[in-house]
């Protein structure tokens, strides 16, 4: 699986598949400045952004390879399902790359001299821990949703985009939806909140792995 992830990272790097989602993330997180100027709000915002960017990046990763080439890799690694899971894992790695940007923007936010009040709400340890766990929740949710909406399961880009937006918004606004919990706890960081987000992250990784396994099986039959 490591070799397959390395291959996919090299392929997407060479073809610049991830550049557009990465730049979009950086620009969105930098420009959509938290109105309050609080680091916690900046990190909550970047969590939401990561959800959508991870979904986009996954759709781009899985859709940027010729089906015939996916077949060559599937044969080499022991099956189409395994190949699909490897590509999804690589997409998750690609999404994780932007997480330091979130922390950097929040750090800059916390040191902004124009907003002295922000010093009181700067980067605390519970905030950083909660925010990192929240990014795991958003990244995994985005990757799993993107994998379910990528070729060959959904061939229309428009349909993929609309469903990503719909599911993404639901994950953010519905109370007790995983991203919703992660975002709200990041906005008001405490050690208790961090523990809750950690539990959500574990659940999301477990359920996400099961869903990814299932959608990879569906894709393997349609490859």
């Amino acid at each position: 699986m490591t070799a397959l992830v390395a291959y996919t990272v090299a392929r997407c790097g060479r073809a610049q598949v991830w550049v557009a989602p990465w730049l979009t993330f950086v620009v969105a997180v930098a420009l959509l400045d938290a109105p309050s100027g609080r680091a916690a709000d900046a990190l909550a915002l970047s969590t939401v952004t990561l959800l959508f960017v991870a979904a986009w990046l996954t759709i781009a990763t899985l859709g940027s390879q010729a089906p015939e080439q996916a077949g060559v890799l599937a044969a080499a690694v022991g099956g189409a399902r395994r190949e699909r899971l490897g590509a999804q894992l690589a997409a998750a790695v690609g999404s994780a790359v932007v997480v330091p940007v979130s922390l950097l923007v929040a750090w800059v936010e916390s040191r902004n001299p124009a907003q002295p009040a922000s010093l009181a709400h700067g980067l605390s340890v519970p905030l950083v821990v909660t925010a990192l766990l929240a990014h795991v929740v958003a990244g995994v949710c985005g990757t799993v949703v993107g994998a379910a909406l990528a070729r060959p399961l959904v061939t229309s880009r428009v349909v993929s985009l609309l469903v990503v937006l719909l599911v993404g918004v639901l994950l953010v606004v519905v109370p007790w939806a995983p991203v919703s919990v992660a975002v709200s706890r990041t906005g008001h960081p405490t050690w208790g909140g961090a523990a809750l987000v950690a539990a959500v992250a574990v659940a999301v990784v477990a359920v996400g792995a099961a869903v990814a396994w299932w959608t990879a099986g569906l894709a393997a039959r349609r490859a």
């Binding site: 070799a3 390879q65 010729a66 015939e68 060559v72 044969a75 080499a76 189409a80 039959r221």
Partner: protein, 295 residues
Amino acid sequence: MRFVEVTQRYADVDVLAGVDLELDGYVVVRGPNGSGKSTLLRIAAGAVEPTAGRVEGRPRHVGYVPERFSPPAGMRADAYLRRTGRLLGLDAAASASRAEALLRRFDLRPGPAARLGTLSKGNRLKVGLAHAFLAPVGLVVLDEPRDGLDDAAAAVLDDLVDEALARGATVLRAAHDDVAPGATLLRVGGGAVRVERAATRAATPGPRTGPDSDTGLGHGREAPDVRVTARVREPDGTGRTLVLTGAERDAALLAVLRRGGSVLEVRPTPADLGRSETATGTEAETETESSKGHP
């Protein structure tokens, strides 16, 4: 490797319908366009899972060349093979050295550092074939690999197939022609796969023959079942009489000519002569009489 009740459905059409199949040695798959050859190969290689049924005993790693080989355009040929070698279970050093050796053997132009997107169709296919034979895998699946290859590369392909068979691998190959006279021949069509001819030689390969060779000579397609008696003279002057099945005929005679011998006469064999010998088919085994110093 075994297909058990394998069905593949596309848009309500069963391209393969409940296929049971045992694959071993050298297997050539024939059939008209759209008959399901490529589907059969894709399922065998593990590139797609069948709609129903299962494939048993497939090796973990399979060398597969699809009908349209579309590798990542921006990657260098050697880097591609080094990376896919890792997927096939090779370590980094083995992957790199084997990739280098195979690209040299195929004479990739302009060179191993070329980007895959800049290669001609034939040269790109060489990279695909090099991938399929990169590691000592137990199964190699080739979907019409001759298309677009020059004669020299086709000869390398035949040698690689022979080497894979010699180490005990199964080679499954789709082709429009009967490229390997000794191989099992399957015909796909109407959702079914039928064994048109069982293997007439063991997996250990004989001389390279057939239209894939650099001669481009024919292969008895007009009368595959005709048994003939051929009188030949070896380069050392030894005269021999061979009884050959249609499928082995051209291969054996071509081998004599390649050795520098001559074919003196070929005529249909009466039904009662050489019946028992024709099952195995190489000229040595079907020799029925010989006479030293034949003119």
